[in-house]
Amino acid sequence: MDSVLDGGFAEPVMQSQTAFRAIMDALANPGTIRDLVTSKPIGGLSAELASVMLILADHDTSIWLDDALRGDAAVLEFLSFHTGAPVVRAPGAAVFAGASSASQLPAFAQFNLGTQEYPDRSTTIVLAVPALSGGETLITRGPGIKGHGHINPVGLPKDFVVQWADNRELFPRGIDLLLAADGQVMGLPRSTRISEGH
């Protein structure tokens, strides 16, 4: 990467719209996989994470980054130049959280979970995973899912099902999760129930 000017969308208005619809559809239909418009990776920031931040973050939204990303000058320069979003150290202060891998991610409960009055004031976590399918199968239920669905992303946090159940228990509070890999995105809003099984 030569310049911080790189990495933005060539046609920001239209590409943001297309990519936003992918994210919106992903969250409205939890567990389904949607094609994201991506530019390119920026240092340790995957192209998918970069894309989500370009679409959703700006001066008004704070971003938490894992240690690997926060230590990467190219990532910080890219986010500062293209989004203007302030980078915060405390996960509880973040509107968006970007994590380059599950091992870098603190427990969900450490992020902003919103309040009972304002459950919308919570963190949306964007997690780069090795793949959105091919891993252990989990069962999903809830709004946006007809009956029940299956997901099998690779590279979730170790105690994911337990952590997620705790997150679901807090409803309407809780974090929302976007998983991203291979130019695609999967949405898991706090309303989704996830269990092990086939």
Partner: protein
């Protein structure tokens, strides 16, 4: 003076769209919860669909096909005006056919034809707070939602039964979403409430003047509030549509003279036209050519 500005695609600037898009994502994640957003002044008045217009402007793209209805009809003046607005600022294809539309912006109706996967219904909402007429203060209603304290709403509905023998709410009939939030479905007739339940379409609600956005994802439970001894029921019409003969649809009463003469016609004009094109004929809907023969 150079007052003629170059407007962005879909009118709103990108920063405003991002703010609204973030609100939409939260709304989807918390079905039925009203997300506060910083509504912008739009070039049409508050109360005339600015919330719906801002939601549509934030999601619409060149690949979309837009339908706009008001009172179920595509040709009512405000529907015409909003459709023309998007045709101008977003250069999108528009349609009156429900099945062809990817985004349908509506005021006061849900189309008769069941919506499908991938379709988005955008409601224009005047008063998003279902508890507002029981408690005018936002600070109070916010607490009631937080504590899931909806007793007041049941009391109101029950008072109706005590006084009128039935629940006297005919439109904007409150619903409960996924067993958690009581939600205002916007002033649609309660006839349309069952269509919201487990719909395949994504339903987005925009209230511009009141600065709120809320949502019902596809396949989501939407239950109209009621009582065991007074179950929720929808309106029934005594006569079918005079033009297409449809029953089990919502009808508008049209006054024909000043001696009480009236007839009922479909509120959903597209549904009515499609039925007539398919050969369905109501009492007054005979084709003029055939009638002349």
């Amino acid at each position: 003076m150079n007052a003629v500005a170059q407007y962005n695609f879909a009118y709103l600037d990108e920063q405003t769209k991002r703010m609204i898009r973030r609100a939409i994502l939260k709304a989807i994640a918390i079905p039925g919860y009203q997300v506060p957003f910083s509504s912008r002044e739009m070039p049409m008045p508050y109360g005339w669909g600015t919330g719906g217009v801002q939601v549509t402007a934030s999601i619409i793209g060149p690949q979309d096909v837009l339908k706009v209805i008001d009172q179920g009809a595509d040709d009512t003046t405000n529907a015409v005006s909003i459709r023309a607005f998007f045709a101008k600022v977003a250069q999108v294809e528009t349609t009156t056919h429900t099945a062809e539309a990817t985004i349908i912006q509506t005021r006061h109706r849900i189309p008769e034809k069941a919506l499908g996967q991938g379709q988005i219904l955008v409601y224009q909402v005047p008063i998003p707070e279902p508890l507002r007429f029981l408690e005018p203060r936002e600070t109070e209603t916010r607490k009631m939602h937080a504590l899931e304290e909806y007793g007041l709403m049941h009391v109101k509905l029950y008072e109706d039964i005590a006084r009128h023998g039935r629940i006297a709410t005919t439109y904007a009939y409150p619903v409960k979403v996924e067993g958690r939030y009581v939600m205002d479905p916007s002033p649609t007739p309660k006839f349309d409430n069952p269509k919201m339940h487990m719909s395949e379409a994504l339903q987005l609600f925009g209230a511009g003047r009141e600065h709120r956005i809320y949502a019902v994802p596809p396949h989501t439970e939407v239950v109209s509030l009621d009582f065991e001894d007074h179950p929720f029921e929808i309106q029934h019409f005594e006569e079918p549509c005079a033009l297409c003969g449809a029953s089990q649809v919502y009808l508008d009463e049209v006054i024909l003279d000043d001696r009480g003469g009236h007839m009922y016609v479909c509120s959903d004009t597209d549904n009515c036209e499609e039925r007539r094109a398919a050969g369905h004929v109501g009492a007054l809907g005979a084709d003029p050519m055939e009638a002349a023969e």
